[in-house]
């Protein structure tokens, strides 16, 4: 295709060479090329993915999927996707041509599309509302400390949005992409690999949708936003002001509890409460996403629990009025609310509940009367939903029923348990409920109360109980003291991580320093063990110089630790900044969208690349250098699966708890296959063998000890400098030895010299290298090391043949091998490049 020729300094670029189809995006492409500058354009040919389709990022996706094996876990062998089916795929392909692997990959793509749809509709609702109120010209201003606004958008679309019109352009693009992905769900001609690429694309688009929502929250509704706060204040900002837990809500007052993804009714309810001076008379609390959003604009808000435990909040009798919007983990809120006599306001067009009527058009007085006479009502205008909640809450309190079972009632009901263990067999945490029932029958409620600590209140047990026992109510009734004492404090979400913090972090664990890396913990509750495990994971990592940030419901659970000695909650125990030993709360689940931009900042600081539609260039840098890991410890929701795929595509490894065995796809690297662990010397194009790292992109683990150890292992990056290499290797060795009583079978693969082994265990490890791996050690020095092909070589040869020379520019992307040195000329041997990935330099 003939394209416009753009001149950047002394270099001419034909837009048709840089963009697959430049028509309609010439202005964006030209801006990006000018920003890249002459020097970069001399070094390599630009490839821009402006308004990217999945296949526009194939260059990177192919590299990733050639290196990591996709392990599919869906056992479904029959396809019913179209009218030709069902087709049994266990022995041969379906009528449309789909094979079993592609069918399994489709299952993952389906989940990802559903998750993306939820986030897109949420973002669209907020954007439409913002445009309605402020118009499309409303400026996007994330503050003076956010230099690069909306980089999830810029990575896919090629520009930083300046106003709501720009945001709408980006969101419309993402909505159109969802339609394309949905088409692929039923198209039989694609390979499993193509479909996994599309699933990763859905992950990237999900970040974009979350980012739109998060930006509107910060720009339009004044949510806490670190971009507007002087960085010197970060260490204690936002203040420790948000109470967390079931015991923090004053149920002697009328209580409005917001659930679901949408904060808008809460925003208006709070506005009215403030206007009427009711702050001390009405309790405003939230569960799940809304629960984490409200404290970002209302200092008196309280967070009750995570979305997965919404049922617990209701059964414990906390709310008088529940305002609910669409939920990530839906359940029958109206039926649950009836049990305690609470009123339900279903907000929005998506919160459709069986038998709940939309009465938005009624005047407020009649609306109040209607809700007094009925259990629930649907209201689609946020101002009205918020006002109704405030108007009705005092009356609603009068109609509340006693929520908790007495000890005598629990004993009586326990007597009806026949120990069929249907409950045990559906319980995600394998809790032995029948044993607790037996004890309760005999008057001992202790075992039921023990179950409370690990119960996720999913109510599957009640659902299958042939005797219809209210098992959840019995567990709650046996745990009244625990509920009363469930009182902690946290910092509300702060939004983004600023460019300035990343400068510090870069010196802490990229360019030097003694921090092993940065961990983002996200998720929605429903943990394999107790809630307090999350706080233990945080403490372990922060105490070892990691920087940890939480986002989503997990933030409230991480808060559940109080240091008796220091008399501090976990959020005040550590600095609230992006520093080594820092611990930050980014916000509710849309705040997950701050994580990829934070990593892009790391790349910008190190490389100067601007994150605009140049996926391979940015992600190659962070994948090979930045020690970043995401931990998803709780529920394996569709959203979590989708963002995990998105993170993997962004070069960030993901560790997921035992729920993650349900993820439809794992992305695992084979450390034994040396052909997979190679990079290009960026100057000469020579292929270099490197350590197997990061060894996995998505891996489920079983215990928190496994999670910590795997995180430490995944900090390793092939281009890490010496001090960070030492820190990550020590973190791995320490965790493996402490938790499993032995060192791993692969730690030696990450050693390039004795200087990378922590001084406290250096001699021990050197002896092991000598004894178990045949290295030659003299005193505290390695004299000869064994290459992976078995050759014993002196250290000069070892360094020459294994790993990348410290600080040397290298890449996993063939195109990014420098084609022309500025001031000299070096051509890359393209034969080797072609051999490595089956992708030609051209």
């Amino acid at each position: 295709m003939e394209g416009k020729v753009v001149k950047v300094g002394g270099v001419e670029v034909n837009l048709a060479d840089a963009v697959r189809d430049p028509r309609g995006v010439e202005d964006i492409a030209e801006d990006i090329l000018q920003e890249m500058g002459e020097r970069r354009l001399r070094q390599w040919d630009p490839k821009l993915n402006i308004f990217a389709h999945a296949s526009d990022i194939a260059e990177w996706d192919h590299i990733l999927l050639n290196k990591y094996h996709t392990i599919f876990t869906s056992g479904k062998k029959s396809c019913e996707a179209c009218q030709q089916g069902p087709c049994d795929l266990s022995a041969k392909n379906g009528l449309c041509g789909v094979d079993l692997e592609a069918h399994q990959a489709r299952e993952g793509l389906k989940e990802a599309c559903r998750a993306l749809a939820r986030q897109l509709t949420h973002a669209r609702d907020l954007l439409n509302y913002a445009i309605k109120i402020y118009g499309k010209e409303k400026e996007i201003d994330l503050g003076p400390y956010e230099e690069y606004p909306m980089t999830n958008v810029s990575m896919l679309c090629g520009f930083y949005p300046k106003n709501l019109a720009d945001v709408e352009r980006a969101l419309s693009y993402a909505e159109a992409q969802l339609a394309e992905l949905l088409y692929a769900v039923n198209n039989g001609n694609e390979s499993a690999k193509d479909l996994v690429e599309k699933t990763m694309h859905a992950g990237s688009l999900t970040f974009l949708a979350m980012e739109v929502a998060e930006t509107i929250k910060m720009c339009i509704f004044d949510f806490y936003n670190a971009g507007k706060v002087e960085p010197t204040e970060y260490k204690d900002w936002p203040k420790m002001q948000t109470p967390v837990g079931l015991g923090v809500v004053d149920t002697s007052k009328p209580v409005i509890c917001f659930m679901g993804n949408d904060f808008l009714p809460a925003w208006h309810a709070v506005r009215i409460i403030k206007e009427r001076g009711l702050e001390d008379e009405i309790e405003v609390c939230g569960v799940g996403a809304a629960g984490h959003d409200i404290p970002r604009f209302y200092e008196k808000a309280k967070v009750v629990t995570s979305a997965t435990k919404a049922r617990l909040a209701i059964r414990a009798g906390i709310p008088d009025v529940i305002v609910v919007s669409e939920m990530c983990l839906p359940f029958d809120v109206v039926e649950e609310a009836k049990k305690i006599g609470a009123k339900v306001i279903a907000y929005g067009y998506k919160a459709d509940f069986k038998g709940v009527e939309d009465k938005t058009e009624l005047p407020m007085e009649e609306l109040v009367k209607y809700l007094e006479e009925n259990d629930a009502v649907q209201v689609t205008i946020p101002e009205k939903a918020g006002e109704l909640a405030v108007e009705i809450v005092k009356k609603a309190k009068e109609g509340k029923k006693a929520a908790l079972l007495s000890e005598a009632e629990i004993k009586e009901k326990a007597a009806a348990c026949k120990a069929c263990d249907s409950c045990f067999n559906v319980c995600p945490n394998r809790l032995m409920i029948s044993r607790a029932m037996k004890a309760a029958k005999e008057g001992n409620l202790e075992k039921l109360s023990e179950i409370y600590d690990e119960c996720v209140f999913c109510a599957k047990c009640e659902h299958v109980c042939p005797n219809g026992l209210p098992i959840i109510d019995m567990i709650i009734g046996a745990s009244i003291e625990k509920i009363k004492n469930d009182k902690y404090m946290m910092r509300p979400g702060r939004g983004l991580i600023s460019h300035i913090e990343w400068r510090d972090l870069t010196f802490g664990f990229v360019l030097g320093g003694n921090g092993p890396g940065m961990v983002y913990i996200i998720g929605c509750g429903k943990y394999p063990g107790a809630e307090k495990d999350i706080a233990e994971i945080v403490r372990y990592l922060v105490d070892r110089n990691c920087c940890v940030a939480v986002a989503g419901c997990v933030a409230a659970d991480a808060a559940k630790y109080f240091d008796e000695e220091e008399r501090k909650y976990i959020f005040e125990k550590y600095l609230a900044a992006g520093l080594l030993r820092g611990f930050m709360n980014l916000g509710g689940c849309t705040a997950i969208s701050h994580i990829p931009p934070a990593t892009y900042k790391g790349t910008m600081i190190g490389s100067g690349y601007t994150p605009k539609a140049n996926w391979s260039q940015i992600v190659d840098y962070q994948y090979t250098r930045l020690p970043l890991v995401v931990l998803i410890w709780g529920a394996a929701t569709e959203e979590m699966f989708t963002v995990a795929m998105g993170f993997a595509r962004s070069g960030v490894s993901v560790v997921v708890g035992p729920e993650g065995f349900k993820f439809k796809t794992w992305l695992l690297g084979n450390k034994h296959d040396r052909s997979k662990w190679q990079m290009f010397d960026g100057i000469t194009g020579r292929i270099r063998e490197v350590e197997p790292c990061p060894v996995h992109m998505i891996i489920p683990v079983e215990t928190k000890e496994e999670a910590i150890t795997m995180i430490a292992k995944l900090f390793h990056r092939p281009l890490a400098l010496r001090d960070p290499r030492l820190a990550s290797l020590e973190a791995y060795n320490e965790a493996h030895k402490n938790f499993f009583g032995e060192y791993s079978d692969d730690w030696h693969l990450y050693v390039r010299s004795e200087h990378e082994i922590h001084v406290m265990r250096r001699m021990e490890m050197l002896r092991l290298l000598e004894r178990e791996h045949g290295w030659v050690i003299e005193g505290p020095r390695v004299k000869k090391a064994r290459l992976r092909d078995g050759r014993l070589v002196d250290m000069r040869d070892y360094v020459e043949n294994y790993g990348i020379q410290l600080g040397r520019y290298s890449t996993v992307v063939p195109r990014l091998v420098i084609k022309e040195m500025v001031g000299g000329a070096v051509a890359a041997p393209s034969e080797e490049i072609t051999k490595m990935h089956g992708v030609s330099k051209e």
Binding site: F424, R430, S434, T703
Partner: protein, 154 residues
Amino acid sequence: MAAKEPLDIAKYLKERKGKVLVMSGWLCEKLELDGRRLIDYAVELANKLDAAVAATGNTVNAVRGKVKATKKMWAAEIPLYLKYDWKEPFERPEVVVLIGYTPDAARALATAMAGLVETVVLDSVEIPEATISLNTMTIDKWKESLEEIIRNLG
């Protein structure tokens, strides 16, 4: 149907003695069947089958020194190595026995190992994705079934 009676499972495993790998999952340490930990069943089973134990989760600490061979492994990696590179200190198995995994994890692992090895899941829940599993049953019956399998391995 994957579900089999304990006696049939014992017979099946006995015929494959020496070709079995036992995978012990995190629930092995958590669950006690009326006073006896699930990990003790895993160890006894491995010894009767002359099998090594791939100890996943934190179970290696409870298995070490009690079976002929064991190693700390990661459950999700096992299907990968079975498929591409088995370089463990014990022979590549023909049959993998899973014990101590949640039904969801067992389903996923059995699916991931399908076609690579035969899988036997000894949980109290039927796992159709496995080659063989126990029926869905009560905790008491599960304990009895495990004991019956072990007793009949000779």
